[in-house]
């Protein structure tokens, strides 16, 4: 009889054969429900919302009003709730287990942040409310701005950018504006090969050509190659520090001096600020602009958990070009500076309103609950955990670079050579073991990259379980157990998907069955 650790029965003895072979009549697998698309459940005549009959009225749309059905699905409230609950059970989340997705910083979102974000006086405000009625919210924005400026050692901050990439755009627009004010916007932006893909995209969007700078054998920016490209056409350099190999760019101050001597400006991608917060102030390194992903460093939810937020800090040189709006304090009252003065060089607005208030509340709650010493420990523990993973795996896997790492550790696929198992297969097998895979095939500077970021919120127990799993999989791959990998994941709600076909022939739209039949 199968038993749990307390000796209670967990499975009956009289199961006929293998439980996996049992076909159910419904297609559901016990607690795991097979869910259809939302258009295929419910009925258009059902609704979870009870609208009052508007009575007779004259539409004011000049005959442009729609009369035909709009094709939305129809669900009662319980149907809608069940639909999304069922889908959520097929997903993996940081609330379910370790999520070592390098470069993304998938750490725990403290529930205190959530509690604060739901305080009615903060949660229920509207951006168009009279400013006298939202003094607390404005003070909160001012306070968060103060923390961000203090932690980065930079004199100004733009709070409105909505995500990291939006922050990059804000920073590069300010750089362009500053260079134009000097009389020459220049032509190129230097970006290391290990950069996030958003860096060259941002430079291109701001009208700059991109020059890729190779990495040296230590995984850092190749200083000689960098200085060779640093001419009078160079507008800016965009560097991530620590970089996407999980390594600190230890020549950064020298690099910043070279950039400024060439009349260019230094953009730092702050995606990995979580590795140095409380320990290093980017302002001291010569940075002119840097975005801060509140969802990484300051634990606000990622993606589906809520809108992003990417405030940008600026040096003295760029502060006059920071976008509107921002909060100012006058005689003890807070107000939003929304319109430029006559001789203002500020960029206009990047967003309709003032920023992502819900994220501001969460980030400030995180900062205040940790304090400056706690934030320093966040960075230290993140680095310690990554080095623990690296040290515990380096005898069986192949680290790409020597020496200690920062908040994430990078392996390549040399240890899989000759096994017939590739990085992709290895990652898929991790799903069967109950883990979200690490980041794979990024950064591009090493072959078959596996980038592991455990974050500071994992306990030693959970990291040890992860390490044990990785060692077991490595052993399986090297001992010729390729079947475990080649079709993995076997135990996920959906098995190995045809990613190539999905990318070559994406089906992005649901088609009603009758239309589909007619088309065939």
């Amino acid at each position: 009889m199968s038993m749990n650790s307390q000796g209670r029965a967990s499975r009956a003895d009289n199961i006929p054969g293998n439980a996996d072979s049992i076909e159910t009549f419904t297609g559901h697998r016990g607690l795991e429900q097979q869910e259809k698309l939302i258009f295929e459940v419910g009925d258009p005549s059902r609704t979870g919302v009870d609208f009052a009959d508007p009575g007779k009225f004259d539409p004011a749309f000049g005959g442009l009003e729609r009369h035909a059905p709009i094709g939305l699905p129809g669900l009662s409230e319980p149907e809608a709730v069940r639909h999304y609950s069922r889908l959520s059970r097929k997903n993996y989340a940081i609330d379910m287990g370790m999520y070592p997705l390098g470069s993304c910083t998938m750490k725990h979102n403290p529930r205190l942040n959530e509690k604060m974000a739901r305080v009615p006086g903060l949660a229920d405000v509207h951006p168009l409310q009279p400013q006298s009625t939202v003094q607390g919210s404005l003070r909160l924005m001012q306070e968060l701005a103060h923390w961000l400026k203090t932690l980065t050692g930079m004199p100004a901050v733009a709070m409105s950018p909505k995500a990291g990439a939006h922050g990059e755009l804000c920073g590069l627009m300010a750089i362009r504006a500053a260079l134009e004010a000097r009389g020459n916007a220049r032509k190129t932006v230097l970006v290391p090969e290990s950069a996030h893909g958003t860096n060259p995209a941002t430079a291109a969007l701001c009208g700059y050509g991109v020059k890729a700078i190779p990495a040296d054998s230590r995984g850092r920016v190749d200083l000689a190659a960098f200085e060779a490209e640093l001419n009078e056409d160079a507008a800016a350099v965009m560097i991530t520090n620590p970089n996407t190999c999980g390594l600190f760019e230890n020549e950064i101050a020298k690099l910043a001096d070279a950039v400024h001597d060439a009349g260019a400006l230094f953009y730092c991608d702050g995606a990995n600020f979580n590795a140095i917060v409380g320990r290093v102030r980017p302002g001291d390194l010569g940075v002119d602009a840097m975005h801060i992903n509140l969802h990484k460093t300051f634990s606000t939810p990622h993606g589906g958990g809520g809108p992003g937020s990417g405030p940008v800090v600026f040096s003295e040189a760029l502060a006059p070009f920071a976008p509107l709006p921002y909060v100012v304090e006058e005689n003890g009252a807070f107000k939003i500076k929304e319109h430029p003065d006559a001789d203002d060089t500020a960029l206009g607005r990047l967003t309709a309103f003032h920023g992502q208030m819900g994220m501001f509340i969460r980030a400030l709650a995180y900062m205040m609950s940790h304090g400056s010493d706690g934030l320093r420990q966040v960075a230290e523990d993140a680095v310690l955990n990554a080095n623990y993973v690296m040290a515990s795996l380096k005898d069986v896997m192949t680290p790409s670079f020597d020496g200690p790492c920062m908040h994430e550790c990078l392996f390549d696929d040399r240890f899989l050579k000759g096994t017939g198992v590739e990085t992709l297969d290895f990652a898929k097998a991790m799903i069967d073991e109950g883990f979200h895979p690490m980041t794979m095939y990024f950064p591009l500077v090493v072959h078959g990259a596996m980038l592991i970021e455990p974050t500071e919120t994992e306990s030693k127990d959970s990291i040890d379980t992860f390490i044990g799993m990785m060692r077991s999989l490595t052993r399986a791959a090297k001992s010729g157990d390729t079947a475990r990998f080649s079709g993995a994941p076997y135990l996920a709600p959906l098995q190995r998907l045809d990613e190539t076909r999905a990318a070559r022939n994406p089906v992005l739209r649901w088609t009603p069955p009758e239309q589909r039949a007619a088309a065939e």
């Binding site: 893909g197 992709l424 095939y441 591009l444 990613e499 190539t500 990318a503 070559r504």
Partner: protein, 125 residues
């Protein structure tokens, strides 16, 4: 009689008269994995050697294809728009990217011969 030369960025150029056909090598397509999208240059585009001329996107990564010589694009392989898998199936033939009218055939001497490229790739593994 055509000659084929190779770049360190894993492009090949097969020359007939003053027009060279450009593609990526079999080694490159294997390293990229399944190609899902190819962005081709416009016919008439003028490149100098080293310019980004096309983009190839696979399930793993997006990579630039650089012009191996100076010249003007005379033709592009439009079938790649509908069937990018040709790059995987036939990297050195039907999966070609574009044809370029060379300004200076002397630039071919700066590229590798097939034997040299095979040596070059051997060193990478």
């Amino acid at each position: 009689m055509s000659t084929t030369r190779y770049s360190e960025d894993h492009e090949w150029i097969s020359v007939d008269g003053d027009v060279g056909t450009v593609g990526i090598t079999d080694y490159a397509q294997k390293a990229l994995g399944d190609v899902v999208f190819v962005e081709l240059p416009d016919v008439g585009a003028v490149f100098i050697k080293g310019d980004e001329a096309a983009v190839v996107e696979s399930v793993k990564a997006a990579s630039e294809i650089y012009a191996p010589v100076n010249g003007e694009v005379t033709e592009v392989n439009v079938t790649l728009n509908d069937d990018p898998s040709l790059v995987n199936q036939s990297a050195d033939d039907a999966g070609w990217f574009f044809k370029i009218r060379m300004d200076d055939a002397g630039q071919l001497d700066e590229l590798m011969t097939e034997d040299q490229y095979e040596e070059f790739v051997k060193d990478l593994d």
